[in-house]
Amino acid sequence: MPDTEVRTEAATGVPTDRSGSRATKRSPVDALPPASRRYGEIGDRSTKPRWGMAVDIERCVGCWSCAVICKSENDVPLGMWWNRILTRGDDLDRPGEGEHGHLEMEWVPLACQHCDDAPCEKVCPTGATYIDKERLVLVNQDDCIGCRYCMAACPYGVRVFNWGKPKYPVDGGTGMVGARPVGTVEKCTMCVHRIAEDQVPSCVWSCPANARVFGDLDDPDGRLVNLLRSRGATRLLEDKGTRPKVWYLQPRRRRPL
């Protein structure tokens, strides 16, 4: 992983490094109780992992826990989200009308899809957006000039821009990862700082319905690959050819409401 130190907000007082290097002080993960740590361990992987995630639409209850914990884990400022829950239906909390007049409602948790063929990475003029060794799409804020070409190129609309001085619900934020400078683009990192500690991303760890499964897509016997195989997973905007590493497990049955 390239050495990508991110400017640290002086107020947080916690020196942080987006690559999750141990060069920093105590990692926030170290502070977790042992039981929580064990619960969040990634487990099996191949020698050269290609991280991916499955989101089970059947299990998702649309509670936004993953979206909220993502904000605190990554210090996402007010007005911005790296991870949010879309509603396939009429509105946020009103069901839509499906086929044959049945009411229908389901949730699509949406964050960076970490595409294998990422349009954002291709168009970045400075290479600030890059694909790391474990195939995660990351942003090196130091090289970001803020042209927002990646935002125009992203079919999923998951990137957010630092429009002004960030504001946090808690002064200085939580300080788990470094603050991003004004005028740069940021997005979900798949909690790369947690992966470095052998912990699953925060959204996976926090999901009360166990709707998210994190793992190595190149580990043919892993839990993730087995799940994808048995459930017939789909990806968002498959026809755009971006080959996302976030897969959606479609509901096996639809009950008329």
Partner: protein, 411 residues
Amino acid sequence: MTSIAADPAVALRAEGPSTAWKAWVGVLGAALGLGAFCFAYQWANGLGVTGLSNTVTWGMYIISFMFLVGASAGGLIVVAGSELVDSERFASLNRLAVLVSGAAILTATGTILPDLGRPQMAWKMIAHPHWTSPLMWDMVVILVYLSIAAVDLWILTRPTVSGSALRRMAVITLPVAILVHSVTAWIFGLLVARPFWNTALLAPMFITSALVSGTALVVVIAHVVERTTGIRFGDEHTLGDLGKLIVWFIAVDAFLLGTEILTIYASRVPDHLDQLNVILWGRLAPVFWAEVALGVVVPFLILVRPALRARRAWLLTACSLAIVGVFFKRVNILLSSMFEPLVGLAPGIPGGRPGQAFRPDEIYIPTWVEWGILIGMAGFFFTVVTIGVRRIVLDRTADAAAPDPVPAGGA
């Protein structure tokens, strides 16, 4: 120095600054000052002071960039094209056209800076170039293009302009001028995320629009130069002949737009159709139909009639409308794709500022900061043109156009 009055360039300087001239310099200075203030304000506060958001990430700056690169390429393509076919018809306009092109491309480069979140980091594009990005290609081709415009100007301002050198330059200028706007189109046209941009027709459409706006801009500026300095470009038909060319450009431009719309509308691919509907019947419909009426129908009907385009008032009206029409076209192209994200489920894309959680029905209204910077950019463009006209166009055109043997180099 008996012939001093016959040389308008000299006459202009001999008269001393007129009230109109002082007012013009004042306007330019005010525009530049306003632009500088707004840019500084935006730089200090972040791009949050603009009307942009995470949904509409590009706005007036990029629209102006597209427009200016087009206006720049268009004028130069006409000049280089006529040189290539050995036509002397627009030779008198050479210097002015190259000057306007150079000024427009300089200004276009300038409009990129305020669009950057961190203009102070722009050097990273040179330090860490990432060559798969069309933005990098555009930077290179713009630099080449600027150099060519400079060399062109240098050749055109030699005491004896060599026709063969001009033609040789035209061989390079024409493809680069076409390329500079094509690459600008590919910045947008190569994105799978934006179906309305993602068409092979985008670059040809950019070129035809560029020919309309670039030629029209040369006509308007040539007229103003003629009126304010008393010099003449060619004979009384020269500008009208450019108007005749614009008729063709408008027709081809409208044809390409029409075929694009028909293809989307008849094949009804949902993503494409959604973005098209935004301009046909949706939130951008007023701008689109204004583009069609003011930018295509009216100028075409005026310019297609020889009697009308021979009259300055009609010619200028048509050209000004065509320029506005092309600007509206850029607005429509850019915003229609921005207004309709591919994943458009509720609650939408985060607004980006505190208090703006989500904005599913994103609308883009430029703020005073954006207008201020644009006025500053216009000021910059006209400052370059004004200085260029006084330094480059006046002296030489006067020499070349003067029918009687006026001693050259009166200044």
